[in-house]
Symmetry: D2
């Protein structure tokens, strides 16, 4: 986390978690063999249609946080990821996001291409 993300309460302000999830999603795809730049290069992008976050604790400046990513479901044009944010042994937050695949030219939804499906792996697998 960055100092600028910590608010007057001394904890990371809520919106930055969505920034972390975006970054973690890109790492997850990259780990699966699909750099995000390759996805864009193929004329496709992902767009967030749903997010939810449950906080059980908070992050303070200097905390080492981890984000684990899991594929929860995958359909024809959308997929859902789960993000477990932890610091040490403590669960800080659990997030869920649903993305649709869209064309970068603005022409709308697209089916999940084989290379993205391969990068996502089977639902329920660990990221």
């Amino acid at each position: 986390m960055r100092y600028l993300e910590v608010d007057q309460q001394g904890v990371v302000f809520n919106m930055w978690y969505l920034g972390y999830f975006d970054e973690a999603m890109a790492y997850f795809l990259d780990d699966g063999g699909l750099p995000y730049s390759d996805l864009l290069g193929s004329g496709l992008d992902v767009q967030l249609v749903h997010s939810e976050i449950d906080w059980r604790s908070s992050l303070r400046f200097g905390d080492e946080a981890w984000v684990d990513v899991t594929l929860e479901h995958s359909g024809t044009t959308s997929f859902g990821l789960r993000f477990d944010v932890s610091a040490g042994a403590q669960t800080v937050a659990i997030g869920r996001t649903v993305y649709v695949v869209v064309a970068t030219d603005g022409s709308g939804k697209r089916p999940i291409p084989p290379r993205l499906a391969a990068a996502l792996g089977p639902a329920g697998g660990e990221g």
Copy 2:
């Protein structure tokens, strides 16, 4: 919205909606007669424990957006707000957040004080 909130896709990046909700929450309390600074001054603050957002559309730079706030539920130590984000006649996103009241000295949860309950008004009312 600000230019800096618009990403490479040409739309407001998802995390900024949580920033808008935070700002809208403060206006909502202020409209109800409780400036946020008064809440802090009384030794209390609100902390987000849950958020969810469903996007139906997106915001482009220059769009005029509105955020309507409604109280969805109110309990002993927590309350839930609904945020309807629209641009013109179009619904852009619907958000829901749940807050708990906490002491600013870090000593934990507190019951919703009468002045905050008054500011929130009855559940289901318009903000």
Copy 3:
């Protein structure tokens, strides 16, 4: 300012001032008769090549801040603005930024067009 911009020190984190200047620049052009969207629509944009900020004080959550914009200089392809940030009678910060006019198609610098020159007004004038 927004709550999310206030850091652990209880003051607006430095980077947000550049966000305020960007917003104030767009208002300044708009006041001069050139909405930023019209500039973009004409195939031109402005790009920051220099910024400097001197802080004399800071902003706390709830402070009412004002940003006054003045044109400091204007050349063939660039112009410089000065931003005076104040809260009440107090000067909080003084910023200076230099912009170049560029084509939105990525083909590089362009001369300041007549409509932008008119919107900027004479150097030394008040925004």
Copy 4:
């Protein structure tokens, strides 16, 4: 850099550089043997009083950027850092910031303590 920092022009929006400098400053002190949390723990903090940035190029999403930190000057209560931001062989931006040391209890400026002076090293040295 993060996707959310990239604006509609496809480049990192200017204000995020001040965020990078803040992060690089903390790493610089840490490399010199003074974790930022130790500085805070000793009742001291640093506050930005001046910043300037000259951009020669820009950063696109996926670019690998480096920030080199050098101590430019060091006085009784203030010090100045220089930040060279590069991507590959290209200089992207050069930043300069001046900090004063302040007490975390709000009682104002303090002399640079020995441990911070040691962490900063001699002026002109490489970070």
